[in-house]
């Protein structure tokens, strides 16, 4: 207690001032250390996916840091829906991660808001390698002359089937089969094995897009909807009948299983989804699962295209060169392909495609499926997705589910969907 006696107020103040100055100096020292040349640069990368993908991405990042010791990568991941909520908030607050996983549904939305980095200049400077992409995928994310992302993998819509059920029913889907063939198959499965033929495809926007494309339209135009109420009403009316008749799985149970899949849990013989999703089915379910081609109306045009996950930089990044270097590494390095496998689709570059030879059955099936549809010549260019497409996709899924649960009539559902789509297009 008596130690302070010899010190008056002024001395105390002086001491406080000195220590504050000292703090200031240290802070200044820190600042020059990280901002100056020579120190490592840290970039942040976030993506959506499950734990399994997180482990793989982390392995790739470790490898990257070893090869590029001056760049550190901080990683972060969420589930799909949560990922975008977080990203929206970060981007609006001016603090988005430097590199994000991205998809075509979001390109125009964030382009309109100047959130994404134009990678074009970085490619010109040689920080980003655009050579060796499969079937023109490097132009995948080019909008109005800006390169807004680079694909890491490609995927396409497919019908995932429970092979044992299909086999027992004596159905062998082949390229060129029609919607009538598919429907006849569902009837056969239902009457023979007492399970639903499909999980209920009426809320899957990407499948409805294919159906529209088979008829010369598309889900979206560049700035709006590519179809009208007249087209959707019969589609959803039919869907409701099929739910009631048991051709499509009981929606109550489908809802409860989520996020597990209805087909993997034995509720239905198949469901339409992205081909690379089939990897998870064998982990979730007890049967064996295969990929069947998309049916068509005329036996030829399936409306299919290669979709893709991509990596994008964000416009606010202070390190565009490092961002480009990282994206280039993730898309071209053969080691990365061996680590990631087909987790994000079939690798987009020839170097990575050649580097990974799948040994597990589901991955082999994905590779074979993509080769088969490419050889069959059914692939077409992707149609644009306007800003707001993400919200519209979610509304389509939700309202489709409400419809099948008997919460609203097909007429009401169609009206509700178009009203929400209008709002989404207007406010994004």
């Amino acid at each position: 207690m008596s130690r302070n006696n010899g010190m008056d107020r002024r001395q105390l103040l002086k001491l406080a001032g000195l220590s504050a100055a000292g703090l200031g100096l240290t802070a200044a020292g820190c600042g020059s250390g990280s901002g100056g040349s020579g120190g490592p640069v840290t970039i942040r990368h976030s993506w959506w996916g499950a734990d399994d993908r997180a482990k793989k991405v982390q392995q790739c990042v470790t490898l990257f840091e070893k090869k590029h010791p001056k760049i550190k990568v901080k990683t972060d991941f969420q589930q799909y829906a949560d990922f975008w909520k977080k990203f929206n908030t970060q981007a609006a607050g001016g603090n988005p991660p430097d590199v994000i996983q991205n998809a075509v549904t979001f390109l125009r939305k964030y382009e309109a808001k100047n959130v994404l980095l134009d990678l074009g200049p970085q490619a010109e400077k040689g920080n980003l390698d655009l050579g060796g992409f499969r079937s023109g995928l490097e132009k995948f994310a080019e909008i109005d002359g800006k390169l807004l992302g680079v694909p890491v993998g490609s995927n396409s819509m497919a019908l995932v089937i429970d092979e044992k059920v299909y086999e027992k029913a004596g159905i062998a889907p082949e390229i060129g089969w029609t919607w009538d063939d598919w429907l006849a198959g569902l009837e056969k499965i239902k009457s023979g094995q007492k399970i639903a033929g499909d999980a209920g495809p009426h809320g899957v926007m990407y499948l409805y897009d294919l159906i529209l494309r088979q008829n010369g339209k598309a889900f979206f135009t560049e700035d709006g909807m590519g179809f009208g109420e007249d087209e959707l009403l019969p589609y959803w009316t039919e869907a409701l009948e099929r739910v009631k008749s048991g051709l499509y799985a009981d929606p109550n149970k489908v809802e409860q299983l989520k996020p597990a899949s209805a087909t993997a849990k034995g509720l239905s013989a198949g469901e339409f989804t992205w081909d690379n999703f089939s990897v998870r089915y064998s982990a979730e379910g007890r049967s064996s699962y295969g990929l069947a081609p998309i049916p068509s109306t005329d036996g030829k045009k399936t409306g299919q295209y290669l979709g893709s996950l991509m990596l994008s930089g964000t416009a606010r990044t202070k390190h565009p060169a490092e961002v480009a270097t990282f994206i280039s590494f993730m898309t071209h390095d053969p080691e990365v392909a061996r680590i990631m496998g087909y987790d994000r689709g079939v690798p987009a570059t020839t170097a990575q495609f050649g580097a990974y030879q799948p040994s597990d059955a589901p991955s082999k099936a994905i590779g074979a499926y993509e080769t088969a549809i490419a050889d069959a010549g059914v692939l077409e260019p992707i149609t644009p997705h306007p800003a707001g497409a993400d919200v519209i996709e979610a509304a389509f899924l939700r309202i489709g589910a409400d419809l099948s649960l008997g919460k609203s009539s097909p007429e009401e559902s169609v009206k509700q969907f178009f009203s929400e789509a209008k709002t989404a297009l207007g406010s994004n």
């Binding site: 975008w84 808001k113 959130v115 919200v391 979610a394 939700r398 589910a401 406010s427």
Partner: protein, 330 residues
């Protein structure tokens, strides 16, 4: 009944004013030395309060004023807010999903709150009696409300009420084949209500305190007069604890209006199926953070504030009819 705690500085200032009032203009003004001391105390008081004041201004008042402004704008987080007047509010009333969210929330408040309070009171009455292991039971019944708001409890709830989970199987034993509650739009709201009822710990503790205040003599006198347990409950217990009951009704009602976490998680981050658990805040969250309609979300938030304010006002108005305070307690 309750004391309002004020800091010494504020009390002193209040005293001065009342002294001045009593004495009227031209009365004895406090000596200058005291004035100085008071001012010094005030400054010290404000200085000590400054972290809280700063926090209130920047973290509560500021954002509130900003969100009030936003509620009259269209704001997608990225572009500057655009003034649209009352458009958000008119859009809201025209939106069937918004109406659904009002319906679901009202249902939840009207059904869930009374059941929760009844459960809390019933258990409080059991635990008010002296018996062996009393403190263990009190702790055990209170525990769920400690972990109740957590994400893990909601996840467990989801697992309990899913298809072919324990609740479903138990139902089947009794010949009830409803399937799981989580995927059934008609049933999932009851799973949520069950979750909130399960978390009755906080009102229970308050009821316990209230029950302890009821004088034993009243019961003894009533017993002598031949009143049965129901009569004693309705004519002694309820009126005597009515101030506590009012407090609990008020708090739980306000609390129920704000349900979010449990609804969001039990319904798998979707407020569904078929919007069956689309509670008000869930829709607000979806509009703001998923659909990037922050103006609309702000408008919804302000309307909720007004609605809760109105309900509170009605409750306060109604208490004159059913809340009995001891004489001098009012």
């Amino acid at each position: 009944m309750t004391h309002i705690h004020t800091s010494p500085g504020v009390l002193a200032a209040g005293d001065d004013r009342s002294v001045a009032k009593r004495n009227g203009p031209g009365g004895n003004a406090p000596p200058p030395a005291r004035k100085r001391r008071d001012r010094g105390e005030n400054v010290a008081g404000y200085l000590f309060m400054s972290p809280w004041i700063a926090g209130f201004l920047f973290l509560i008042a500021g954002p509130m004023v900003f969100s009030l402004y936003l509620s009259f704008t269209e704001y997608n987080l990225f572009e500057a807010p655009r003034w649209i007047g009352l458009q958000n509010f008119t859009d809201m009333f025209a939106d069937p999903r918004w109406r659904q969210s009002v319906k679901v929330t009202s249902w939840y408040v009207l059904i869930g709150t009374p059941i929760k309070l009844a459960a809390a009171l019933a258990v409080a009455m059991l635990l008010a009696q002296k018996r062996w292991g009393q403190s263990f039971y009190r702790a055990a019944f209170y525990a769920p409300s400690l972990i109740g708001a957590s994400v893990s409890a909601a996840i467990v709830w989801r697992a309990l009420f899913s298809d072919d989970a324990i609740v479903d199987r138990t139902q089947k034993v009794f010949g009830v084949e409803v399937g799981g509650w989580i995927g059934d739009p008609a049933m999932i709201i009851y799973a949520l209500i069950a979750l909130t009822v399960w978390q009755f710990g906080a009102p229970m503790v308050i009821f316990l305190a209230g029950l302890k205040q009821v004088p034993r003599e009243l019961y003894e006198a009533a017993e002598v007069d031949g009143a049965g347990p129901w009569r004693r409950f309705f004519h002694i217990t309820l009126p005597m604890i009515s101030p506590v009951l009012f407090f609990n009704v008020l708090l739980e009602t306000i609390h129920s209006f704000q349900i979010f976490g449990s609804a969001y998680i039990v319904s798998n981050s979707s407020c569904g199926p078929a919007d069956a658990t689309l509670v008000y805040t869930c829709y607000l969250y979806e509009q703001g953070f998923v659909n990037s309609r922050m103006g609309f979300a702000s408008a919804m938030g302000w309307l909720l504030l007004v609605a809760v304010g109105l309900v509170t006002a009605v409750l306060f108005w109604s208490q004159k009819r059913w809340v009995h305070y001891e004489e001098g307690g009012r």
